[in-house]
Structures are given as C-alpha cells and as structure tokens.
Amino acid sequence: MPTTVPAYGKEAAERLASMADVTADDGALRRFLHGLPGVDAVGLQARAATLGTRSIKTTAKAYAIDLAISMIDLTTLEGADTPGKVRALCAKGINPDPTDRTAPKVAAICVYGDMVATAKEALTGSGIQVAAVATAFPSGRASLPVKLADTRDAVAAGADEIDMVIDRGAFLSGRYLDVFEEIRQVKEACVREDGSGTAAHLKVIFETGELQTYDNVRRASWLAMLAGADFIKTSTGKVAVNATPPVTLVLLEAVRDFRAATGVQVGVKPAGGIRTTKDAIKYLVMVNETLGDEWLSPEWFRFGASSLLNDLLMQRQKLSTGRYSGPDYVTVD
C-alpha cells in the first residue's frame, strides 16, 4: 500500500497524475467507473443497520458527543439569512453551551458565499473554518464560468472551505468527463489569489438522493476523488432524501478503497437529516469500523447539520447533570 498523503497536500496531485490513464478521455473514464464492483444493496443496508445497533454509553458516549460537536459544520443556508443570524450562529459555534465552557467548539460554519465575509469577521481568532457553498448551490444549474466565478468570489472573501455541488444532470446522462472537468476546474478556482499558493479545501456534494442507485453513488465518489476532491459529501440538505447510513457507508468504503489504491486520504461529510445524538453516534461507529480512527477527527469527518448541535448539547447536559434537559436550555436558531 502506498504511503498516505492528505488530499489537499502537494503530493496528492502527483498521485492522481498516476491515475491519469483512467481520466484521459470519456471512454476510459466510463469504462473505469462502470468497472467498479457493483454495490450489494441488501448487504449494504444490513451492514449499516448492524453498525447502528452498538450500545455506546457513559464515558464512551461523553467522548462521542464531544467528538461529534467538534465535527459539526454548523449550517445556515436559508434565503432568509441575515448578517445578524450568521453572527449569532458564529457565536454559537465558538461557544456552543454558554452554561458549560468545557463544550468544544464546532469545526466550521457553513454559509452562502455572500455571507462569508460576515462569518469570517465573527470568527476571527476562533480557529473555526468558514465553509461556503458555491457553484449554483443547491441545484448546480448554471454555466461553468458562473460556477467558477461563484467559487473565486467565495475564496476571495476568505472562505476556508468550498462546498460545491456536481452537475447531476450531466452525471445521470453519462457525461462523466464533464463532471470530472468541472470538479477539476473548481478545485483550481479554490487556489487563493493572494500569492500564498494555498487553497481552500474542496468538498464535493453528490446529492445522493438524486443519484438513484448505490452504484451511482460509488461511481460519483470515485469520480470526485479522481478529480481532486478533498472531501466528499452526501447531500445539500435541500431535497427529500438526505444523508442515510447506507449511502454514507458507500462513501466511506470508496474513501477507504481510494486510499488503498492511491494513498490519498479524502474526508467524508454526511449532511442533512442527522438530527439526534443517537444518529450521530451511529455515524461515528460506522467511520470507526470502516476507516478506523485515522478518520475520527474534524479534519477528516464532518457532520453537515444545524439542529443536531442542540440535541448533542442536551445530551451533554444530561450526562453532566443527570437530568434530562429540554429545548428551553439551548438556543433557538
């Protein structure tokens, strides 16, 4: 097995270049993606369900809750977002439980591109990343120059991470190379123009609820990782079906297999529909069992969520006080 390098590092590009033959043209890419082993849907669902039955209690639970909080991309992606709301969310991200300073801070605040500057300012010195959704989120229906401009704009405003959506229309109609090129160009657009040579990390959203089959999810995962994704992410949170344990398991397995093949480590972010502590812990168990603890950190695994944080805080309060908490004791957001 090749030595491991992070997807955002310089060496990753060289590793990907070694796979250039599969991405050389449309036919080669199609043959490669369709040559990936098919997903055993029943087995996958059973495996995901089994991993959801572990009992995590007491000190392990306390650890899992704090880890989950530190992995949250606290998100507000509403048409009604105001600078005030974004600042309030940032304050919550820095100090999730005002009654208990031992609660860890979240990993990132996820906003629309025009709110990046506001969030950046509110988070100064906190160490929390600002993630911006870009490329005509959530539908992805815009021309490539618009998407690239959208991305550059967010990066210029100070975004540390870019959450892009793939063109599902192109993917579903089999134009894989178009999707590949798009991701590659967005990745280039993530490079900061301040001359530092650094780049915002790129998360690629598949909107798995629209990809219809687990096979497609696996293909999309490989496609995005070959194109240079730093993170692969399930959903936008804007459609009926969001992150589910089986779909996330497909992503985790793809990430595991990709590292085995190339040595490049890619992160995973399930998003949407994860609302309870119980769910979050199930995902953590899945990560640990599929990828091991190298991925059990905010650097490699994130939750895209908003209401999850409140449930985690209530469970945290229950563990520390012995009393069940209620929604009156966390913020309304």
């Binding site: 309060q317 012995g322 009393r323 069940y324 908490s325 209620g326 929604p327 009156d328 004791y329």
Partner: protein, 311 residues
Amino acid sequence: MAARAACTAWRHTSMSDRNDRLSVLKTYKLFVGGKFPRSESGRVYEVTTATSAAGAAGKGTWLANAPLASRKDARDAVVAARKAFGGWSGATAYNRGQILYRVAEMLEGRRDQFAREVGDAEGLGKSKAAAVVDAAIDRWVWYAGWSDKTAQIAGSANPVAGPYFNLSAPEPTGVVALLAPQDSSFLGLVSVIAPAIVTGNTTVVAAAEGAPLPALSLAEVLATSDLPGGVVNVLSGRTAEIAAPLAAHQDVNAIDLAGADAELATELEKAAADNLKRVLRPQPVDWAADPGTARLLAFLETKTVWHPMGV
C-alpha cells in the same frame, strides 16, 4: 395421525361449545405520542387481580403482563408531550371540549370492558365497578364543559390606576407529569387527566403501579377520540422509577404527585424544585365526590395584559 386427531378434537369442541376456543390474550402496551409501543427496555411485569378482594387471601390471580416502563420511555413520552403542546394549547377551547365529550362517548360504548377491568383491578363487584365506570364517564363530560369556562373563573379584568384595560387570562402550564392515584385505578386516573388536558396542557401519566390495565385500555379510547397524539401519554411500571426522571426533567413544567406516598413525594418535590416545576402535593381525596375546580386551576399560568384604552 396425531395431527388429524387434534384437528378433529378442535372441530368437535368448536362446534359443541364456543367457550372452549383458545382465547386470545391481549398484549397491553404503553401509549406514547399516539402510538402503542412496548417498553424500550423490553421489560414487563405481572398484573394480578386486587389482593384485597374477598377470597383473594392476599394473592391475586394473574391478569396480564403490563409493560415495565423505563426512564427512557419517560423521556420519549416527554418529547411526545412537548411536541403536542403547541397544537393542543393552541386549539380552541370549544374544540378541546368537543374532544373530551368524544372520549366520554367512546367510553360509553366500552362500559362493559372497563367495568370488568376495574372490577378485577380494584376487587369490586359487578354493579360497584359499573358505577365507577359511569362516574368516570360523567367526569369526562363534566370537565369537557369546563373547557370554555375556566377563563371566566381564573381570569379577570383588573381595575388599575391608569387609562388601561388590564386583563388577566389563564394559560396552560405546559407539559405536566401526572402520577395517577394508586387507590383508584380508573376514576382517580380520569380525575387527574381530564382537568390537566382540558385547559390545554399535555401530559405524561404514570398509571397506578398495581392496577395499570384500566389506564392502558383508556389509552385505546383516547387514541380513537380525535385527541391528538402526545397530549396524553400513558406509562405503566414502578411509579418511583418513572417519576424520578420526570420530576428531574428540565422540560417538564409541572408534576401532580397524587400517586406518590409521603416519602417519595418529598424526594420528587426536591428534584422538581431545580427547574421550579409547579408541584401539586398528594392529599387524601374521595375520588367519587364532586371534584371541584382545584385540579382544573392547578396547572394554569396567569398572563396579564395592559392595553391602552384609547380616547
């Protein structure tokens, strides 16, 4: 050959005497959020006929296995009650009254079942048990009538020194934990639930520990009476075990200690003090007597509004 013999035997008995058919035992379940789940813990406990009944000699006969609710069931019930609170407290008083009448209507059709269950639970004869059930049905009707009248007796227009209308109006307290009385498994139960919900509270009820079956059957009636799921949640099991997390729960606004003994009541009141729960202390009550408005007014908060009079 043996199978055929059994088959013939079955046919023989079924034709000659219908009472010999294999009876279908009822699985009693909890009532949480409008659904009938088993206890999260999977535990059950045996419920027997009243041990104090004539001829029981301190040992009742087995009636059924009731779910032995855990603290997680209590937590789930509180979540369900909180979820139901907005809709139920926001419903018109007229609507709430109609639904309480509907409960009485539904109970009327199942009088015989409840008379039997209450008779078994409390060791009463047929006619006495029927009288208890009738009283319980009448109590639903009585409280139903109060739905649009509590504001008149608990609210007021206050005279103030200024050009203002000053109005006080009662509002429901929120999620109320009810420990149902241990000595009156049905009439007492109805007498604590009805006044709490008619004003718009939602409830988590711990049924009488030794006689939970009438309460669990009442849940079936409530589920078919247009009562929104979660307004009443019924748990059966050890009162002390269920009550402790409810009394300490930060999202429960009040607790009725009717079913707690003195020692448990003191303990629960201490736990309840932490988030300033409203507490109704246990007191000896004759459940058959006219209930008065005490319980009706126990779980209300007064909101006072100052409104300029204008010119």
